[in-house]
């Protein structure tokens, strides 16, 4: 009896030690080795759950948009009855439909699904994957502007780095192209509700609060002209050579759900006229 208990105790200890060692090994793996394992788990066990999550998100959005659709229906009814101000009504309906018609081609619509882990707002799972012809570093945008970029792509899902992720970078400029710099997540980000930083702006260029910052197109990841955020204030002036600015993000992450992932040909063709409305 006592020998059996000792044997069970040893088995328990061996199991917990094995689990801890396996977890530490997974944690210390380089991304090139870690990502295939994470991808395998996602594709086998988590993918069906993602499909469910995607359905729940779509249903929730459908409920939220019911009022907008009702308004659109009312507008259509009025239009049919009166047939007046046709162009103005048309513009209203187009704006209700969102960004997709402006982009017109070369994009995929996706759900950006949040992760449940603490600090998970820095990454999102996208409900699309390699089957939809997206690739790592594809830009992710919304009608408001830059949301993030695709980090890794699986067959049916993808991992997106939101702008709150420490590794996120976008080459940016002021709307008048007078100042160019790099936008990164501000160090105080927590839970994706933080701010952005525009760094490396030449000291002689002073940006006023409220200045719109857009992607510059340099680097080839984001096309030029996508809104990134608005300048809040000067953050620092490092040694009198360059300034950093605190930027209020254009895309609030807590409400992020439907996004557009731009394919490479669309990025190369540019999106100059889409956000400059």
């Amino acid at each position: 009896m006592a020998r059996g208990a000792r044997s069970n105790g040893r088995l328990d200890t061996a199991l917990v030690v094995a689990c801890v060692l396996a977890a530490l090994t997974l944690r210390s793996l380089a991304p090139a080795r870690r990502d295939p394992i994470a991808r395998a788990v996602r594709e086998t066990f988590v993918a069906p759950l993602l499909a469910g999550q995607s359905s729940v998100t779509r249903s929730e959005r459908a409920l939220r948009e019911a009022a907008a659709l009702r308004r659109a229906t009312d507008s259509l009814t009025r239009l049919a009855q009166g047939a007046t101000a046709l162009a103005a009504e048309n513009a209203t309906l187009r704006s209700l439909l969102g960004l997709a018609p402006q982009v017109a081609w070369g994009y995929v619509v996706a759900e950006a699904l949040p992760a449940s882990a603490p600090g998970g707002a820095a990454t999102r799972l996208l409900s699309i994957g390699a089957r939809d012809s997206i690739a790592p570093l594809s830009p992710v945008v919304t009608a408001a502007g830059v949301a993030g970029l695709v980090a890794t792509v699986d067959d049916r899902s993808a991992v997106m780095l939101t702008w709150a992720h420490p590794d996120f970078r976008v080459s940016a400029m002021s709307e008048d192209a007078g100042a160019v710099g790099i936008v990164t997540a501000h160090a105080s980000n927590r839970g994706g509700e933080g701010l952005l930083e525009l760094t490396g702006v030449p000291f002689r260029t002073l940006l006023a609060p409220g200045t719109l910052i857009v992607s510059s197109g340099l680097g080839g990841v984001f096309p030029a002209g996508v809104p990134v955020g608005k300048v809040l204030r000067v953050l620092s002036d490092e040694g009198g050579w360059v300034r950093s600015y605190l930027v209020d993000p254009a895309v609030p992450l807590p409400s992020l759900s439907g996004v557009l992932v731009l394919r490479a040909p669309r990025v190369r063709a540019g999106l100059d006229s889409v956000w400059s409305r």
Binding site: L15, A38, V41, L50, P114, R190
Partner: protein, 163 residues
Amino acid sequence: MERRTLGFVVGIAAFVLLDLAVWPLVDARGLLDLMLLAVVAVAGRTRPGLAALTGFVLGVLRDAAVPDAFGASALAFAVVGYGVSRLSAGAFEERVAATAAVLAIARLVADVLYVLLAGRLHGTDLLLHLIWWAPLGAIVTTGVGLVVLRLLPPPADRRRGGR
């Protein structure tokens, strides 16, 4: 499979499904950890080794959605599963105060281990998480856990040998 065991397995599966598929959509700042409740429920009814293994597997499932912290939840839940099973001796769900204490400590330990291993928070954000969000999460998870753990069918035999 015994009906009671089947009910328990279905309950745990429901926790995992809710945690991975539905709960992330609720903007609750991660205060309620349903996966941890699943680990604690299993740990309260199984041997420490099996509890650690369950925690590890559920942690890997969660980590798959956040690849840059891969392994952090697995380690945190394995440690919590082992610890809860070892300390609770299988009878903690019968006493409310003991259940509350186990849930709160389990959540705090899992949260602190995850945050330290994931390495996403630094400086004042880390401090704020440890002194404010982690205890708040422990309170919320404990409150909900006291209710939902009672919904699971009780184990066939709480007395387990070999501890």
